[in-house]
Every structure is written in C-alpha cells, then in structure tokens.
Symmetry: C2
Subunit: 233 residues, 2 copies
C-alpha cells in the first residue's frame, strides 16, 4: 500500500496558530519534510511546529533553492521529488510543512502537483495567512459588506500594482521589502498612504506595526512584512 | 479590573480546522458568545466548537438579525453590545465565536469596533477561510508566483464583478447562491467557465465539488458555496 502526502499549513509564526488537524497529522506522520531555501539555513516552519514534535520525530530537511538558473532549479526539484517518492512507496505518511496557507504563494503548490501526478493521495490542511492575523492585530477588516479584497505581490509589476490599487477597496501587498520605496511613492501618488498599515514579523516575538510608511527607510524593511491598504480610511 | 473580549475564528466547518490558540481561549473563557441570525435557529459556529467545551461552559446565544430595517438592526445591536459590556465590566473573559476568519465579511468586525471604542481590550484569533480549504481540496492554487487574487462577494454589483473578473489571475466569489445564474452567464461571457470550480459546504460532511457550473440549477445552490475562478486554466 502506498503512503499519503500531507501538506500542513503552519500559519504565520506563532506556534499556536496551527490548526488542531495540522498538529494531529504532524504527530501521526512517519516523516516530516521541512523545506528550506539554503542547506545550512534554519527552517522557519520547523521552528513553529517544534513544540508538537517528540524526540523520535523523523524530520527531513529538503532544500528548495531560490535561484533563477533553470537547470539548477530543475535538478534540485527532481532530487526532492525522488526522495519524497521513496517514502511514499514504502507506505509512509509524509507531512510537508509550509508557512502560512499551503495554496497561496508556496513551494508546496508545485510539490503537491508533482506528487498528485505520480498517482499518490494528497491531503492539504489549510493554514492561517499572515494577513488574517495582521487584520486582527490592527482591528481593521480585510473586507466587510460588499467590499473587494485584492492580494498582490509587490513584485507583480507596475501595471498590475496600479490596477490593483485603483480597483479594490482593500489591498494586501506581499513581498514588500524588495521595492519598498517605489511602493510608498505609488501609494502616495494614488492618495492611499493614510489608509496603509504595515506589519513586520506578524505573530512573532519581534512583531512591529507601522502606520507612517513614508518615514521608514527601505533598508530597515524586513522580508517578513505585509502592507494592508484600505481605500475608505 | 475589566475583562477581555476575544474574537475566535472557528474556520469553515470541520471542528479540527480551528487553531490551537482558539481552542485554548474557548476553554479558558468565562462566557462564550455564539451569534446567530434567528432566535430559534442553530448556531453553526457553536456546533463547530462543541467538542472542545465541557458541560460547565457558559454559552450565551445572541441574535444578530439579517434585516434591512435600520431601527430593528440598531436596537438589536445596542442590546447585544450592552449584554457583552455587562460581562466585561464584571472582569470576565468573553469569547465571541465566528465562522471562517473574523476580519473577513463577519459580524465580528462591527462588534469588535464597538467594544474597542468603549475602551476594552480586544484580542482577535484568526481563522481558516472556506477558500483556503477549498483550494487544498481542489489541488488548485489560490495564487502562485506573481499572480493576483481577488476576493469579491457576488452581491458586489455587476460593474465590480466584471472588473474583478477581467483584472485578476484568480478570483474567489463569495455569496454566490443569490444570483447564481447571472454569475454563470458572466463567467461564460468572459470565457472563464472552464477555469471555474464551486465547492459547497466545504469541510462539512455533505461537501460537494462542482466543475461544470453551467449544468447546475440555481435553486440547488447552497448558501454555503464558494467559486474559485482561475484565468490560466
């Protein structure tokens, strides 16, 4: 009998923001796959679930590099897929942990596609997104009544950003650290700065909330930052 | 000392899709507020958390009617708010349970605003949205790479719907039962039917996935249905 591949969303950072189902699956899994971008680096997702794992838990770290060289990327993916296949062929329960929600901007999306295409059973357990937590912290709705909400990575290109910001009542901007200054200028241009909030490391011990984005220097903006823009504010 | 007001997102329906933090707060709360739309009706959120409550749990059902008469609405809100205030003044921990995520299309958004304005401490625990669960079930991403995701209620008006569907790579349509036929016609017009999936009662025992929306009769579409539209499908 072949195994089952689980994707478990571990939420934005706080260990208690994983679901009851997620914890159960991690505790029943034979193998826990912790993805990371560098071989020697830490796995944030693994740190989040550590309190739920006992000493016997078999954790396998797999490197999914963030590189632009297709050959290198394809080769690492092929190797990772082969490794997961081996466990599944042995009939093991394999749980892949992933930050936030598995089906939103995650490496897991590609992994589950490959595994499913090989004919294995895949079960995905959703996770809390950083922006859901952020909205609660701010006391600001992501959307209410008939309002629209757009989620857009700040890396999506100028045209897409301009459209998103002129269309929606509420906009969540992800990956804002790379072009922070350009983003702030755009918000200013579109008269949206007064309804813009940024939270860094939401749910972590070093969480910070910023309400005056114009004052922030670009090099102080963490990779783990998200902006919520509310038009009617 | 005054109490604390907690908002706990209980997720889309499956009792195990609440967070560990949510369960903890419900078990430590003095009062659990279960909102419902009718006095005699069931509270879906209460059914979800029932397995975590012991026999001594003090559950208070409050009716938040879905009516269009402002006087009736205002009066019921004033009474509900007064009731919650009484508990908070007694120093109690009051947990308000709400389906899905508290800060997205929820009565809780207004309640927490009123409570915060009265000077009480408010703590919001995020919840799993129906569309995160749905995407996992379908094995389809909500968004990947630099794609955009729009969340829009089908009740938002024709112009907004047309814009959302022509702008975004991925669209989640909420509250689709009211104008289902019109929605399907619009998806057909904008050539998006082949990338449209609907899930009803996602996470419940009677969950159903539909891939051919054109064949469905409007009167069979449940209130608890969500559509995911993927442009590049």
């Amino acid at each position: 009998m072949s195994g089952i591949f689980y994707g478990v969303g571990v939420g934005p950072g706080d260990s208690e923001l994983i679901t009851v189902k997620g914890v159960k699956i991690l505790q029943e899994a034979d193998i826990i796959i912790a993805p990371q971008t560098k071989k020697e680096g830490p796995s944030t997702a693994l740190n989040i679930v550590r309190p739920y794992l006992d000493a016997k838990a078999q954790v396998v770290k797999l490197v999914f590099p963030m590189v632009d060289i297709p050959e290198e990327l394809n080769e690492s993916w092929r190797l990772n897929k082969e490794k997961i296949d081996t466990y599944l062929q042995e009939g093991k329960k394999v749980a892949f942990i992933t930050l936030g929600d598995p089906m939103l901007y995650s490496t897991y999306i590609y992994v589950q596609r490959l595994i499913k295409d090989s004919g294995y059973q895949v079960v995905t357990v959703p996770g809390i997104t950083s922006f859901s937590l952020m909205a609660g912290r701010l006391g600001e709705a992501l959307a209410e009544n008939d309002e629209t909400l757009v989620i857009v990575p700040a890396t999506a290109g100028e045209e897409t950003l301009a459209k998103a910001l002129s269309f929606a009542d509420n906009v969540v901007l992800m990956k804002v650290s790379r072009n922070f200054r350009g983003l702030v200028n755009r918000l200013k241009e579109q008269d949206l700065l007064k309804g813009a909030f940024m939270v860094s490391h939401c749910g972590w011990e070093n969480e910070r909330i910023y309400t005056n984005l114009e004052e922030l220097a670009e090099d102080t903006v963490s990779y783990f930052s998200t902006i919520l823009v509310k038009r009617n504010k």
